[in-house]
Amino acid sequence: MLAQVDTFVGPEIQWFALSPMLTLLGGALSLMIIGALTPLWPKGWYATFTAAIAIATGVLAMFQWDDISDGGPSTLVGGAVAFDTLAMFLTITISTALVLVALLTDDYLRGTPNDGPEIYALYMVAALGGVVMASANDFIVLFLGLEMLSLALYVLAASNRGSEQSSEAGIKYFVLGGFASAFFLYGIALVYGATGTTNISEMIAALQSSVDVFHPDTLALAGIGLLIVGLGFKVAAVPFHVWAPDVYQGAPTPVTAFMASAGKAAAFAAMLRVLVIALPFYRDDWRPIIWVLALLSLLVGSTLAIVQNNVKRMLAYSSISHAGFILVGVEAAAHRAGEADAGSGMPAVVMYLLLYSVLVIGSFAVVAVVQRESGGDASLDAFKGLARRRPTLALAMTVFLLAQAGVPFTSGFIAKFGVIQAAVDERSYAIAIIAMVVAVIAAFVYLKIMVTMWLGDPADGSQTVPVPFAAGLAIVVAVIFTLVVGIFPGWLIDASNTVTAYAR
């Protein structure tokens, strides 16, 4: 009954085009092996190695970008991997996040029993999973990338063995993440049943040819529903957000920064690939669901952030509200899904992901430094009077918070303006207005942290510990990026506009 294959012809593999992924893979494996065979490296070496691999990945992705600009988008490895600027933009986003997080982790791990190559190797595996998700042109490849990212993040979340909170974060993330993965996989299976393929290009062709004839609609719609549940968990959209605050709070702070940046970017990349690129023929069915997810994420994320008193938790809820803004962009992209003129939704989404990644890592970097002084405490009290003790650090945090609030002349304004503009372009006025109102509500929580930093009195006996060089470097780079992009956004907007020419 099944087709018999007599001779197997392997697909052609374009090694250079795959080099960003291979660099990350090679970095992770070699660090794991060499690290296991050698005694503990001196301070900073693991982080430097990881940052070097991440920079190499980003630079190679830029080379691929030139090739794509010249030769147009294509697919690799027998159609399993997409080779387009969307993949490369997100590869660069994830490697930027990896560089900053590696710098931030260096000092955080010093002197703890977790010091060693494992955490960095796991970062690289997670980043590789994210890159695979962003470049997948086949649902099974996308699932493998998703699991690579998720499994590494489960371990990272639980990696602080001395802390009960970290273990709790790990198990919660694992159980709910596994739940989401199962939904996602079942969705893939049902969509496979409806279209007869898991390959995105073949899927588009199959749906295109079956528009007039009967096709099992129920299977496809049920599959899309399950896919949205799985993706909703991964991007932490309300009502699938319950894990996010607990995991963000319990996980070691650099890991939280990585989850909120690279993890979110990869999950939204998967959402674009699965819904906007692969299933445009059902866009009228799934667009309302995205609309509702965006609305709930915006409202719940920004209002619940205000009532928290732990800064990591506040940033977790604020990341849920940011997910809502990105979903506004996805909703805008949905209006033009599958059309030759893809509109401004997708560029706005990838732009938001890059800018938000840098912002959120910067914010968590400041939290990590404050935690060093307070002995691990990330409550609002630990930030009291930070401006008096540490004016520069407080200033950096202020820049990040203002940017997250979307104040002009910061990168956050460009990001928020982009998604709202995209929604207005597609005449989604209702969600655009809600997003603007929520931006004001969300600003309240950032103001709350700022007021505590600048106007509060430092607690008695609070001490100042010098800011570690690597973490300081990460914060300075993030501040410069935030301000430079806020003032000169043109070059990035031009780059993000090319992602609409994706491989299909």
Partner: protein
């Protein structure tokens, strides 16, 4: 002679298994049982893949199952590691005891 079972029934069976897994995950409080429920859900998806591959006469659905098996095995390693690290600290922990993080 026994008539061949319609592939549709495999899809029904798979959806029932998936439902049992999802329901079990939500109501059971033992981390190990919750973990087994996730495996049940993954295997329901596998059964769907195989049944649909037979129905469509397409080999790709069956190869997908091998990838999923590998992923499930990797998930066992990670999941059991995390569960053991928690149970070693506090034996007999249930999901309700893990409530240090809230707000």
């Amino acid at each position: 002679m026994i008539a061949a079972i319609e592939p549709t029934w495999y899809l029904v069976l798979a959806s029932v298994l998936f439902g049992i897994g999802a329901f079990g995950l939500l109501v059971r409080r033992n981390p190990l049982i919750m973990f087994m429920c996730i495996e049940l859900m993954l295997n329901a998806a596998n059964l769907t893949f195989v049944a649909l591959a037979v129905q469509l006469g397409d080999i790709n659905g069956q190869t997908a199952v091998f990838f999923v098996l590998v992923v499930a095995a990797a998930e066992v390693v990670v999941g059991l590691g995390i569960i053991v690290s928690i149970l070693r600290r506090t034996p007999g922990t249930t999901a309700d005891d893990l409530a240090e993080l809230k707000g």
